[in-house]
């Protein structure tokens, strides 16, 4: 077990950076905080790679598959003899993989922000929050028990809130940060209740005991049920709601597009690559429980994932803000991952969906971070988020152009880029489980290719716009991360995930499923071709199509009015029929009682204030008389 203790530093370095840049960053030149943050993240990144290398290739693979290692654990709270909350580090294939994902993307974003955020106010604050976020996310993935995970889960939510609202002078950013916080917090309530039910049933928080596939710990739980549904199904569904909130699954997706108000590197780090996969990670972590104890919840997960991926892909087609297009594509890809977990079995080939989900999580982190950072580079060059302000940028931004193209090809699932491999595995898993879900995902693959290349052609081809100044390529600190992530996007597909990250920690063999792979590549190419025809050159066809589809187009453009529906429900039902009566009760009954006490006191004191004569001897007389009376009464009563 020894030899992994250094993983503590992966976690502690960001915390220390957060503390020192947060406390002292104001006094330094801004760049100092940035350099300290970036250097520290670099160390964390290298340590994570070391940990991953020694874990995956260093002989921890025994007959039982990869061992679960706990290099560090302390008892944090001992509430009662049986209710003990621990904090620790748990290394198993998924958490080691997540360490790599989080530190890689975080390091790239730190580096990139040196260029992107240059000259912005609050540079030190930005780096402090980035470090806080990284710390929380790392604490979440290496949690040894579900309670520790919940604590870091909330910390992640807070740092996300802080970063979305980074431009706090901007009302829209403030609104977006509040929205993100409230929606995810609402979902976390489900998570908390789920945890409580689960630990009530099993008597433990520990992942080691909860996720052992024999399920002995649940023996006593089978008889518990509520409203005809077993307690465990409730618990797992509620925990999934928590995950759905963070991962922005339908119908809790509304916060993610608005979260794009934050600085673009933040969108890349939090709302594309790391935080939003926390929900996926949670479901993956609880996978044995969900699969064996609550199959109904697993069905829900599969269908929610499938629906979200389709829904978001359709909306993405109509958006003009490039960050929003990417946000909806993130939703869609997260839907893929959820679906893959939902259709997965346990162990060996059966666990293909689980493996595919983790694989896609990994590749998606790389190419989506690349897309966002590329988008940041574009925005940096033209000072606009909107496609109609862009066009013909390939001449001005050659590096951004090439890396963005690679990312688009990756997400469209064109071989040999990594997205092809992971998406293919998901499609196979879906096909084995449910034909309908397969059909949906197949369609979404085409839509994805189409909207990504709509974006690509609109931005980099098309007609030159009138720019205020000639757009120029971004500085080196911004292009190096782009190139690094592009290389990762190309080659991540060749990592043998099916030997490394699987549901039962044992490797299995898999081969290319040509019957699935070829049609999925074809539909991807079809999407690209369609985008080529419509958007490569300026043409009137898209507008005509939009007019022709009329209502449907407007509905999609407005994201199917979900924000409006939520607002309507909140204002007209919750505010009117719940909040108002509660407020009335508070104002008239609770406050009324308190005011009443005050009024009565005042009346009485008005009556008796004449006793306060101000005469010292008057007081002394009353005091002595009272003392005498007490003394006499004591003598009288005690005898």
């Amino acid at each position: 077990m020894a030899g992994y203790t250094y993983t503590v530093f992966i976690l502690m370095i960001p915390l220390v950076i957060f503390l020192i840049t947060g406390l002292m960053g104001m006094k330094w030149k801004p760049i100092v905080s940035g350099v300290i943050g970036t250097a520290g993240m670099g160390i964390s990144f290298v340590l994570s790679l070391l940990a991953a290398a020694s874990y995956f290739f260093g002989g921890t693979h025994g007959a039982e598959g990869f061992q679960t290692i706990i290099p560090f654990e302390i008892t944090w709270l001992r509430l009662t003899e049986s209710l003990i909350i621990k904090m620790g580090i748990l290394l198993d294939p998924i958490s080691v993989m997540m360490l790599v994902v989080v530190t890689t993307v975080s390091f790239m974003v730190h580096l990139y922000s040196l260029g992107y955020m240059k000259g912005e106010g609050g540079f030190a604050r930005f780096y402090a929050f980035l470090a806080l976020f990284t710390f929380s996310m790392l604490g979440l993935v290496i949690a040894t028990n579900i309670f520790q995970m919940y604590i870091f889960w909330e910390l992640v939510g807070v740092s996300s809130y802080l970063l979305i609202g980074f431009y706090y002078q901007k009302p829209s950013a403030v609104a977006a940060s509040k929205k993100a916080f409230i929606v995810t917090r609402f979902a976390d309530l489900g998570f908390l209740i789920g945890i409580l039910i689960l630990s009530f049933v099993t008597g433990t928080f520990d992942f080691g005991k909860l996720t052992s596939p024999d399920g002995a710990i649940f023996a006593g739980a089978a008889s518990l049920s509520f409203m005809g549904i077993s307690a465990l199904t409730w618990a797992m569904t509620l925990i999934f709601i928590g995950g759905a909130g963070k991962s922005a699954m339908f119908p809790l997706h509304i916060w993610l597009p608005d979260a794009m108000e934050g600085p673009t590197p933040v969108s890349a780090l939090i709302h594309a690559a790391t935080m939003v996969v926390a929900g996926i990670f949670l479901v993956a972590r609880m996978f044995p429980v969900i699969h064996f104890q609550a199959p109904a919840s697993q069905e829900i997960i599969a269908f929610v994932g499938g629906f979200t991926s389709l829904f978001a892909a359709v909306i993405a087609i109509t958006q003009y803000d490039i960050k929003r297009v990417l946000a909806f594509s993130t939703l869609s890809q997260l839907g893929y991952m959820m679906l893959a977990l939902g259709v997965s079995g346990y162990g060996g080939e059966e666990g293909l969906g689980f493996m595919a989900s983790m694989f896609h999580l990994f590749t998606h982190a790389m190419f989506k971070a690349l897309l966002f950072l590329g988008a940041g580079s574009i925005i940096h060059a033209v000072h606009s988020n909107y496609m109609y302000d862009m066009g013909g940028l390939r001449k001005y931004l050659p590096i951004t152009h090439i890396t963005f193209l690679i990312a688009c090809l990756t997400i469209a699932g064109i071989p040999p880029f990594s997205g092809f491999f992971s998406k293919d595995e998901i499609l196979v898993a879906a096909l084995n489980h449910n034909k309908l879900l397969f059909a949906v995902e197949y369609l979404v693959a085409g839509l994805t290719a189409f909207y990504m290349f709509r974006l690509y052609f609109n931005v980099f081809w098309g007609k030159d716009r009138h720019y205020h100044h000639t757009p120029h390529e971004s500085p080196l600190t911004m292009t190096i991360p782009l190139v690094f992530l592009a290389v990762a996007s190309i080659f991540a597909g060749f990592i043998p995930f099916h030997h490394l990250v699987t549901s039962d920690k044992m490797g299995f063999d898999t081969e290319m499923h040509l019957a699935v792979a070829i049609p999925s590549v074809l539909i991807g190419l079809l999407g690209i071709a369609l985008a080529w025809i419509l958007y490569k050159k300026e043409s009137a066809i898209p507008e005509k199509l939009a007019l022709r589809w009329g209502i449907l187009y407007t509905a999609t453009y407005n994201k199917f009015y979900f924000d409006e529906i939520y607002l309507f429900v909140a204002r007209n039902i919750i505010f009117k029929y719940i909040s108002r009566p509660v407020a009335w009760f508070d104002r008239h009954i609770v406050d009324g009682f308190m005011v009443g006490i005050a009024v009565v006191t005042e009346k009485i004191s008005f009556q008796i204030k004449g006793m306060q004569s101000g005469q010292l001897q008057h007081y002394a007389f009353i005091f002595v008389a009272g003392t005498l009376a007490l003394a006499l009464s004591m003598v009288y009563f005690l005898n």
């Binding site: 005469q615 010292l616 002595v624």
Partner: protein
């Protein structure tokens, strides 16, 4: 033992002193006299301390120490009280307690 004198005699003296003090404090109008009345009360308590110490626990000294403390504190208190009285005199040109009623409702 102090030869032949029973404890009651001491207690009677201290009780009389105490009530003279209380009566003086309540009746007299002059602040200086009131201060003297307070000193009487304190000293009657001192007598009690010493006497009880002497008669009940002759081999211990707490009572005597306590009365020493009280003497010290009484000195400090007297200086504070006289400072207050001087200020009152400056403000009102007399030291009649009946005129000190600023704290009335």
């Amino acid at each position: 033992m102090i030869q032949g004198i029973p404890i009651e005699h001491f207690l009677i003296v201290s009780t009389i002193m105490f009530f003279i003090g209380v009566a003086g404090f309540i009746i007299r109008r002059n602040l200086i006299t009131m201060l003297m009345a307070i000193e009487l009360i304190l000293n009657s308590v001192n007598i009690n301390f010493v006497v009880f110490n002497r008669y009940l626990y002759p081999d211990q000294l707490q009572g005597q120490f306590f009365s020493l403390f009280i003497v010290g504190i009484a000195a400090a208190e007297a200086s504070v009280a006289i400072a207050l009285i001087i200020n009152i005199y400056r403000k009102l040109q007399n030291i009649d307690v009946e005129n000190v009623n600023e704290m009335m409702y």
